[in-house]
Structures are given as structure tokens and as C-alpha cells.
Symmetry: C2
Amino acid sequence: MTTRKGEETKARIVEAALDLFRERGYEETTMRAVAERAGVSQGNAYYYFKGKEYLLQAYYHRMQEDHIEAAQRVLDTETDLHARLLGVLNSKLEVIEPYHRFSGLLFRQAADPKSPLNPFNDQSAEARQEGINMYAQVLEGAKIKIPADIAPHLPGLMWTYSMGIVLFWLHDDSEGRQRTHALAEQTCDLVVKVIKLLSNPLLRPLRKSALRVLESIQVQLKPTPTDP
Amino acid sequence: MTTRKGEETKARIVEAALDLFRERGYEETTMRAVAERAGVSQGNAYYYFKGKEYLLQAYYHRMQEDHIEAAQRVLDTETDLHARLLGVLNSKLEVIEPYHRFSGLLFRQAADPKSPLNPFNDQSAEARQEGINMYAQVLEGAKIKIPADIAPHLPGLMWTYSMGIVLFWLHDDSEGRQRTHALAEQTCDLVVKVIKLLSNPLLRPLRKSALRVLESIQVQLKPTPTDP
DNA sequence: GTCTATAACCGGATAGAC
DNA sequence: GTCTATCCGGTTATAGAC
């Protein structure tokens, strides 16, 4: 059980860490400095956070919350699929921009299969689901027909695609991230085209192959719950 | 300039590190232990390797060499595209299997945009090119027609695809990595089908969109050399 | 110049008293 | 829940040997 005071202390530590990360970057921020700014002892900081990387995680969650909020504005107003998708992507890029400097570290951590930040493992199922849901919303609000067989897979695919864009952004040092924005726009086009194309009955065999692939990935991504 | 004795010392350090990594894993291996097993002082190890992660890099390079060798046997014998591609993928999976336990760390490091292991940045251009060349070979030796416009992009795409398979493998804890092998086979199928499909003149507009995307990525992947 | 060793530093993490 | 004291291991400074 955690007390009121505990919550406050924890919040102070997060704030201190986030401030320092933004000021100097992650590596240059010591746990000693975080503790000092939060007004607690170093040891106490470890009472609330198992390690330094867990503070990074706090950062990550905040970004996701901010994105959900920013994307909602787009989803509430746009009705065209292309506009909705691009709007959601752009709001993502906007939200993460301040952290470009060290989000490489986030990715780095996220790449470790054992990391709680890794989008592919079970621990982060909730966060992943939130992300996927967002793209389900993107599709729902759009006036477009989607073949029933691929429909359930599409949000997950789009979410994966959005991670690809973020990966590109990570390496993008162009002025104002123009390259990433250009890529988002072009690929958005492509995605919409492919979705429309997939309805074509001539492509049914290809769609079936693709579906089989998706299903075998799915098993690993969302293991079927073992019944009692 | 480095002397003969220097080379030998360096090799001893790599061997010591690689042995220890395999025995206990990366995190559990201390630089002190590596130095001791190599019969050098801890400080001396740092004369040869800027840091612990550079020893990991040695591991990585060895894996790549092994893969090139293993793949060659496939490329020399098979002529069918599907068989060639699947053969190369399987040889990759075979080579990396002993390191499954900690290759997550490799990926983790590779995900950092500044890391020399990151396949997308300039420092690793050479290693990337080697990988891409392998898939160029896969295509060359196969009896198949490829539309001229996408031909130059295909090896790079296939290399990227192979990294996707490795990423999946990383998270695969199934018996004998059956899931990854199943995925490789299925996606291999799919890739071959898509390549054939892309030749269809009806898909020209889609291909054009895709090409534009590929070109904007390319700029970042291989920046055009500035002329003098 | 190339190589090697010793000693120290620094910061993340932990133990244990209060 | 909070602190102090300590550990541990990656890294660096530096001095000297070949």
C-alpha cells in the first residue's frame, strides 16, 4: 500500500528526473543529481524506482498520454482516411520532437526483449493495445470499405508502420525533420492505396498468404490465454 | 601502427571475452574477468577496446563472417528464388542460434542511432553493404524477371526484411525456434509472390508511389557524396 | 611511438539502521 | 519511507617498459 506522502515523493522524483533529462540528456543525469533535485536521498529514489531506466519509462508513458490527447483532436474532426492517418502520425511526431535528442536511448532500451518498454513483449501489452486502438479509431471514423478478413489485422499493422516512421525519425537530422514528414506523407499515400488495392478480388490468393503470416505472428504477439 | 605482439594480445582479449559471454552472458561478464582470462591487466584491455560494448561488436562481426560463409554454400547450389532466399535466411538463423541468449543486447545496442552497430548509420555502411550484396546475389542467381525500376532497390528491401525475421527470432522462445522457421518459410513465399506481382503493368501507379518512398529513404540511408 | 600495469574515479545499485 | 554507508564494475589517468 502506498501513502499520500509516498505518492508525492514519487512524483517529485519523476519531475526532477524528467527536468534533468531534458536539460542535460539521460547519460549525463546522475541518480545523485535526480535525488538531490527531488530533495530525497539517493537510496530513497531507489525505493520508488528500481533503476535509472525506470525513470526513462516514466518519460515514455508521459509521451504516450500526450499523444493520445493530441491525436484525439484530429480524430474528432477529420473523416478522410488519409487525413486521419497523417494527422495521427504528425501529432505523434510533434509530441516526441522535444525528446529527439535522447529518444535513441528509449529505443535502445525498447529493443531489449526483456525490457518492459519493448513493444513486443507481454509486459507492455497494455501500452501496445492503446497504440493499436488508436489506429482502429483511425479506420473506424473513415468512410472506407475494408475486406472483412484483413480488417482485424489492419490496426496492428498500421501501428507497426507508425513505429517504422518513428524509427526513421530517430535517425533524421534534417532541418525541421522534413525528411520524416515527407516520408510520412508519401507512405500515408501508399498505405491508403494498398488498403484499397487489397479489396480487389484478384488479389485474394496473395491476401490469404499474407493472412497466414499475420496469424503466425499474432500467436507470438498475443498468446491465446490458456483456459483453466 | 600496430606490431605483431599487439595483434596477438588483441586476439587473446577477444577470445577471452567471447568465451565468457557464451559461458555467463554479457552482463555477468566483467572487464576484470576478461582481462584476467586474457592474461592482461584491466587497463590494457582498454588500450585495445574503447569499452565493453566494443567487445560485443567483435562478436557481431564474427557472426556476419560466419553467415557469409554458410550462405555461400546455398548460393552455389540452389537456383530457385524461393529456395535461395529461404536457404540464406535459414543459414542466418543457424549461425546466430548459439547467441540467442544475449543477442537481445546486440539489438539493443544496434538500436541506438549513434552506435557503430546500428545498421542505418554511416559507420556501419560497410557491414550493411555486405548484407545487401548477399541478397543481390540471391536475386542474380535466380531465374526470374524483375521490373527494371525496382530492381536496384530489391536487395536492400530484402535485407531489411531479413532483419525483421531476426527481430522476430529474438522474441521467439518456441521449441527449436519453430515459430521463426515457420514465419521465414511463409514470408519467403509471400516475398516471392509479391516480386512476381510487382511486374504486373496494372500496378504501375502503386509501384511509382513505392519508388518515391524508397528514394526518400535512400537519401538518408546512403547520402549522395558531396563533390569537390 | 607501441604496449602494459597500477591506482584511482565515478556513478549505478544495495544493505541495513532508524 | 527515509537515510547513510558501502559495494561493485566500467572507465580513465598516468607512469613507466619495451
